[in-house]
């Protein structure tokens, strides 16, 4: 039996004369969908498998399909004679284009047998002399295949060998998808052995030392695996020490390692090539000179065995020294290796004479997380689900590790600057003016990764958000946060109620929350107020709606900001919070101030029609009843409708208040989201509301306080009291309440997952203007109770996570484009189709 080893992903060219049994062989060893046969393609393009005039088009189509299959990572077998160099060259080109290995399998049978088989075919188109020419071509092919680029050439001679052959698939070296971690991915070490030891200890690894006290292995008690992104050597004080430790860990199965460009260069030097001793190689060579000869040989063998990148954890994680674009993940070719080691350069050099690197991460849209090093940066930053963990330890920065899947960064500072950098450390992302945004930052299908989660923004949602953002929103510099959508509580089954506090409390109780705050849901419009003490980076600030639109427009918004500014002055919050700007989450009252048109044109109209129609209906029915007609039941229903319309009218009238300019308008702040250098997402709601109260005290005419109840969910009496409070509030025409985890915006469940920042529990009467005047009618209520909240909740959490990340980015003074992509994503989420009644 002959075993034919071929890579799992390859382009396999069958080579053999007509009648050699290629199609039979292909059928036996491969799935029909994997085999592209030139005959079939001739049939496909010309309705005749033997039409030689169609060969050119047939091969075009075949190469095209082969290319698509390879791009998608599918093994592809080409069933054609492949006897001529130009035919094979086309296949090698397709394989190279997609960075997969071309493989040839030659089927060589005696010419007499091939002729016998060919002669037996009814549709034979050529004579014996053609077969003889093919046989000559085959002879000549033997010596050429390897030179033409086929990485493996299997030759099967004679029918018996062909019959006995078996295919065996081999994984590519870079395919380690079976390793699921957890991993600790360590940035460029560059001979900083001391810092590496410290980092491993900090990560929880136990070091093992040899008799001389040198660390030779490190293992994690929880079975974590260290992953080194390369550049272990050069520049630093103890490259051999680092090598000894890492080689020990790799040998013991406690670590895996990809090579960096410095290892590559060291290997060439060790092999005696003429390599210049620059960029710290001289230091390494000097240090290695002190090591025994065996160690140097061991080092060379170690480097030689390194694989340029790894695909890990089921394809979710890719590690390469200089990063790797998506098309190269799990592929093998010279250019893939070169990208992994050196990255892609633009061909230019910067003012320090160093090559300018192409910002591949900016264009990265893949779903696999890519972790890499190579480019020292002051602090690791996520760019499109990629992160560079080289924080320039050898240059006096830090040695950083990324814990995977936790996505936590762990770093130890450099003991000192071991080597002077050729240029100052700059953020990996390309510097752009901070007011400028690029369309590529926001459009298209985008994968966004931030400290509170990951999400994919579909292209059509981004397209919709682009229009809102660029045509209607406050300018991006002042649009620093958008409120997440809010889910209602689980649906109540209590008689007559669609929403009830019992469900809101139960929702949080089951999420492990012990203490909540119930805040009155104001009957106004959401308003986000960014107020600056004096016009500066935010041009004084902005007031915008939940979709980022200016609230009233220029003169009124400025007047409103002035009022808020004065209150913050009076309350003394600038100094207390050490900031010259504040971001407030508020409700602006009354609703009619912003939504007067909507109330008049939509809500009032329905009420007017109902209030006029139903009395006429009742009068007609009463007259009919007088005549003795059996209309009692119908009249009863219509009287209910009339009562519903009355209740509905009362509900919308509660949202109407006389306003003239800012007169009659009040603001109800309920959270102080951020100030200079700080996100206040970690403060509890007691803190937020206390600050809001002080603004109310400073200007009681303009600010409306938020009524509230703090409830320990284990305390039945408190729960009952809050329920009564809600019933009274809503019976008096109130909209309802919002229940929030008392711990604050960024509250997490005991299991560590982000909680819904608030759950609304809306009043029975208020819901008439959402679900329709008669929604309380038992039949309707029963149907409405089947409402599904999953999508709304998911959306609320996604938007909330983005909002928290935006607040952090604001506190960290992240560049505008990075903050903007988060805000933009919130807006894009809003294009998700959800039931507008939720």
């Amino acid at each position: 039996m002959t075993i034919l080893d071929i890579p799992e992903l390859a382009l396999v060219a069958l080579v053999g004369v007509s009648g050699a049994g290629k199609s039979t062989f292909a059928r036996r060893h491969f799935r029909p969908s994997q085999v592209l046969s030139s005959d079939a393609f001739r049939g496909m393009v010309a309705d005749d498998e033997n039409d030689q005039s169609a060969s050119g088009d047939a091969f075009d189509a075949l190469h095209h399909v082969a290319g698509i299959r390879l791009r998608r990572g599918r093994l592809t077998v080409v069933d054609a004679t492949n006897l001529q160099p130009h035919a094979r060259a086309g296949l090698v080109a397709v394989a190279r284009e997609h960075d997969v290995l071309p493989v040839a399998i030659v089927l060589d049978v005696p010419e007499a047998l091939a002729w016998e088989r060919t002669e037996g075919r009814a549709d034979r188109t050529h004579g014996r002399q053609v077969l003889a020419r093919m046989q000559r071509d085959l002879r000549q092919s033997y010596g050429r295949l390897a030179r033409e680029g086929f990485r493996k050439v299997h030759v099967l001679r004679g029918v018996d060998e062909i019959e006995a052959a078996e295919i065996r698939y081999e994984k590519l070296f870079n395919d380690r998808r079976e390793l699921t971690g957890p991993f600790d991915i360590v940035g460029d070490v560059h001979g900083c052995r001391e810092e590496l030891e410290a980092l491993l200890v900090r990560l929880g690894y136990a070091l093992r030392r040899d008799d001389a006290g040198r660390p030779v292995d490190a293992a994690h008690p929880a079975g974590r695996t260290a992953v080194f992104v390369g550049d272990l050597v050069d520049r630093g004080p103890d490259s051999p020490g680092v090598l000894r430790l890492v080689m020990g860990m790799v040998a013991a199965g406690h670590a895996i390692c990809v090579p960096g460009n410095h290892e590559q260069k060291l290997l060439r030097k060790l092999r005696g090539r003429d390599v210049r001793l620059t960029h710290g190689l001289a230091e390494t060579m000097a240090q290695l000179a002190a090591e025994p000869e065996g160690f140097v040989a061991q080092t060379a063998a170690f480097i030689d065995g390194l694989v340029s990148h790894y695909v890990l954890d089921g394809g979710r994680l890719v590690v390469a020294h200089a990063g790797l674009k998506e098309a190269y993940h799990g592929r093998a070719s010279g250019r893939v290796r070169s990208f992994a080691l050196y990255g892609e350069t633009t061909g230019e050099t910067d003012e320090y004479g160093l090559p300018v690197r192409y910002p591949w991460a900016r264009d990265y849209r893949g779903s696999a997380m890519v972790v890499y090093g190579h480019t020292p940066t002051p602090a690791p930053e996520w760019v499109n689900n990629t992160i560079c963990v080289d924080t320039g330890c050898v240059f006096g920065g830090q040695l950083t590790a990324l814990r995977y899947p936790e996505k936590e960064l762990v770093a130890v500072p450099a003991v000192r600057e071991w080597y002077a950098p050729a240029r100052p450390l700059v953020p990996a992302a390309p510097a752009r003016p901070d007011t400028v945004l690029d369309l590529a930052d926001v459009t298209g299908r985008r994968h966004l990764s931030h400290p509170y989660g990951t999400l994919t923004v579909p292209a059509e949602n981004a397209a919709a958000a682009l229009e809102v953002m660029s045509r209607y929103a406050v300018d991006p510099g002042r649009l620093v946060w958008l409120p997440p959508t809010m889910s209602p509580c689980s649906t109540s089954t209590l008689d007559g109620f669609l929403e009830h506090p019992a469900q809101a409390f139960a929702d949080y109780r089951s999420a492990g929350v012990e203490r909540v705050v119930c805040e009155e849901k104001h009957m106004g419009s959401r308003a986000v107020v960014l107020v600056e003490r004096e016009p500066g980076r935010f041009a004084g600030g902005a007031v915008h709606t939940r979709t980022g639109r200016p609230f009233f427009g220029p003169p009124l918004d400025d007047e409103l900001l002035a009022r808020v500014r004065a209150a913050v002055d009076a309350a003394g919050l600038w100094a207390e919070l050490e900031t010259d700007w504040l971001l407030l989450d508020c409700e602006l009252l009354p609703w009619s101030a912003k939504a007067g048109g909507l109330i008049r044109e939509q809500y009032a109209g329905v009420g007017a029609a109902g209030r006029a129609a139903l009395p006429a209906v009742l009068a007609a029915l009463d007259a009919a009843a007088t005549r003795g007609l059996p209309v009692a039941e119908l009249r009863g229903r219509m009287a209910d409708r009339a009562a519903e319309v009355t209740a509905y009218s009362a509900a919308y009238r509660g949202y109407v208040g006389p306003t003239d300019g800012l007169r009659g308008v009040t603001l109800a702040p309920f959270a102080v989201l951020a100030g200079a250098g700080a996100s206040f997402a970690d403060r509890d709601h007691g803190w937020h509301l206390a600050l809001a109260d002080r603004l109310c005290a400073a200007d009681p005419e303009f600010f409306t306080p938020t009524r509230r109840q703090v409830v320990e969910l284990a305390d039945d009496a408190a729960v009952a009291a809050a329920t009564d409070w809600w019933l009274a509030l809503t019976a008096a025409g109130g909209e309802g309440m919002v229940v929030k985890p008392y711990a604050g915006l960024a509250a997490r469940s005991p299991k560590g997952s982000l909680l819904q920042p608030g759950i609304k529990c809306r009043g029975r009467e208020y819901l008439r203007i959402i679900y329709g005047p008669g929604y309380t009618e038992p039949g309707q209520l029963a149907a409405l109770r089947t409402r599904s909240l999953g999508r709304k909740r998911g959306l609320a959490l996604r938007e909330h996570g983005l909002g928290l990340a935006a607040l952090d980015a604001l506190a960290a003074d992240a560049p505008l484009w990075r903050r903007h992509e988060l805000i933009f994503a919130i807006l894009a989420c809003e294009s998700e189709p959800v039931d507008p009644r939720l």
């Binding site: 007011t435 006029a612 959402i770």
Partner: protein
């Protein structure tokens, strides 16, 4: 929703025979969106009233998830759930009428055939009718048919008298007509006044309209409006219906007033200005010798069609932030039907002028025709950077309204802009200053002029600037 039909023809209770509904019974009929009830509040010798009461089931009306949405009158997201359909007369009532009084509508009566063919005194009352166009329009559509019309506007909310009237009227029609004619009038005109349909208007609606309108619609002075609204403003259908009506018409009038014009008054002076503006922009592009051009903010593609018509433009890119606008432009350019060579010259991309877009680099010229004024002033620097700093075409042609000229437009209130979405309109001095500043900041030279008839004091209605990139060192 309710409709009552009263007669004083003696014996009045014969109305029951005409409607084929017994005055002493209450009858109910299932409808797709609820139930129709027919009952008689009064029925004696002197006076008989039939009431048609439609009880709407909100769940059926709102429809299930993903079903084609019934056309509620407004694009209000909650309109599917919070609406007047249960109270106001509409196409739902019309459909109920057709179902419940089918034979009466056809003028057939087994028991009283003569009475059915006789005009009798009738009073129709629709207590709540949504009437787009107000009480006055109700008069205009019913009065020519022989009805005395009383339409009283219903106040929007008695709690807020300052809000004025609602869109609803309490309608009473009195006249001496055949019952069948009365019902057909209502069948057609109730949805027309409501100007909304609860179902998708398919081509067979034309037949329905002509059938119900037989004998009265062809000569109705408001037939164009009635047809347009009945067919839900679908131009093709309305055109077909009007053509067929014209054939039926006895009077030989010129066909011109049958045109399906838009209900929005045309702004005649602007239309010709639009053409002159396009011409001026094209001339500027010709002058600079551009062959690869960008139409930034192309909207529905008015300029693109003109660009495509000139072979000198070998590559034409239209961008807009609205994907809907691009769809309209593609349709207008008939992109899917253009020959390949033509098609290859044109690209339509979604892009926003407040963001840098690498795709827009390297073109000969860019046009910003009536675009900048749609941006909030704080966003202008972003546009300047994206167009002049990043895309950097050799020539940029900008047009924008001259606000000084606005006083020449009658009907444009003082301080009002020419378009609801204009965020600002510039005086000549303001525009010139902006052009100068942008040119200086980004290395362009500029000329500023006007388009349209120049007013000696106010200048031309539209301002034009051509900015030319200086050769880079």
């Amino acid at each position: 929703m309710l409709l009552t039909l009263t007669t004083t023809h003696r014996p009045a209770s014969d109305l029951g025979h005409l409607l084929v509904k017994h005055p002493d019974r209450v009858q109910s009929f299932d409808l797709p969106a609820g139930t129709a009830h027919v009952l008689y509040p009064e029925a004696d010798e002197a006076r008989c009233t039939a009431a048609l009461l439609v009880e709407v089931d909100p769940l059926k009306l709102a429809g299930g998830r993903g079903r084609r949405q019934a056309t509620t009158p407004d694009a209000f997201t909650l309109g599917r759930y919070v609406n007047d359909r249960a109270y106001a007369a509409s196409s739902l009532l019309s459909s109920a009428l057709a179902k419940v009084f089918r034979s009466a509508l056809r003028g057939e009566s087994r028991d009283r055939p003569e009475l059915a063919a006789t005009a009798i005194p009738l009073t129709v009352r629709v207590p709540v009718l949504r009437c787009r166009g107000g009480a006055e329009l109700a008069g205009r559509v019913f009065a020519p048919l022989g009805w005395a019309v009383t339409a009283t506007a219903i106040p929007l909310d008695e709690a807020y008298p300052e809000w004025g009237d609602s869109r609803y009227v309490d309608l009473t029609l009195t006249g001496t007509l055949r019952v069948a004619d009365a019902l057909n009038h209502l069948y057609v005109l109730l949805p027309v006044l409501d100007d909304a349909k609860h179902y998708w208007v398919a081509p067979d609606e034309v037949d329905k309209l002509l059938r119900a309108g037989a004998g009265w619609l062809a000569d109705h002075p408001e037939r164009a409006l009635i047809t347009r609204r009945y067919l839900a403003h679908r131009r093709a259908l309305a055109g077909e219906a009007l053509a067929r009506l014209a054939e039926l018409r006895l009077a030989d009038e010129p066909a011109a007033d049958d045109s399906v014009e838009s209900e929005q008054p045309d702004r005649a002076p602007q239309a010709s200005l639009a053409v002159r503006r396009r011409e001026a922009v094209l001339a500027a592009l010709r002058d600079c010798g551009a062959s690869r051009v960008l139409d930034l903010g192309c909207g529905g593609g008015a300029l693109l069609t003109a660009l495509v018509a000139e072979r000198r433009f070998t590559e034409i890119v239209g961008t807009d932030v609205s994907s809907q606008a691009l769809t309209v432009a593609a349709r207008r350019l008939r992109l899917d039907r253009l020959p390949e060579r033509q098609r290859d010259r044109i690209r339509l991309w979604q892009s926003a002028l407040t963001y840098r877009d690498d795709r827009l680099r390297g073109y000969d010229a860019a046009v910003l025709m009536e675009v900048v004024e749609h941006l909030d002033p704080p966003r202008l620097p972003a546009l300047e950077d994206a167009v002049f700093g990043h895309a950097r075409p050799a020539t940029v042609v900008v047009t924008t309204p001259n606000v000084e000229y606005n006083v020449r437009y009658e009907g444009l209130g003082a301080g009002r802009f020419r378009h609801a979405d204009h965020r600002f309109e510039w005086t000549r001095a303001e525009f010139a200053a902006w052009v100068r500043r942008v040119a200086a900041a980004h290395g362009y030279t500029a000329t500023v002029g006007g388009i349209g008839d120049e007013d000696p004091e106010l200048g031309a209605p539209t301002q034009l600037a051509v900015l030319t990139r200086k050769e880079e060192a």
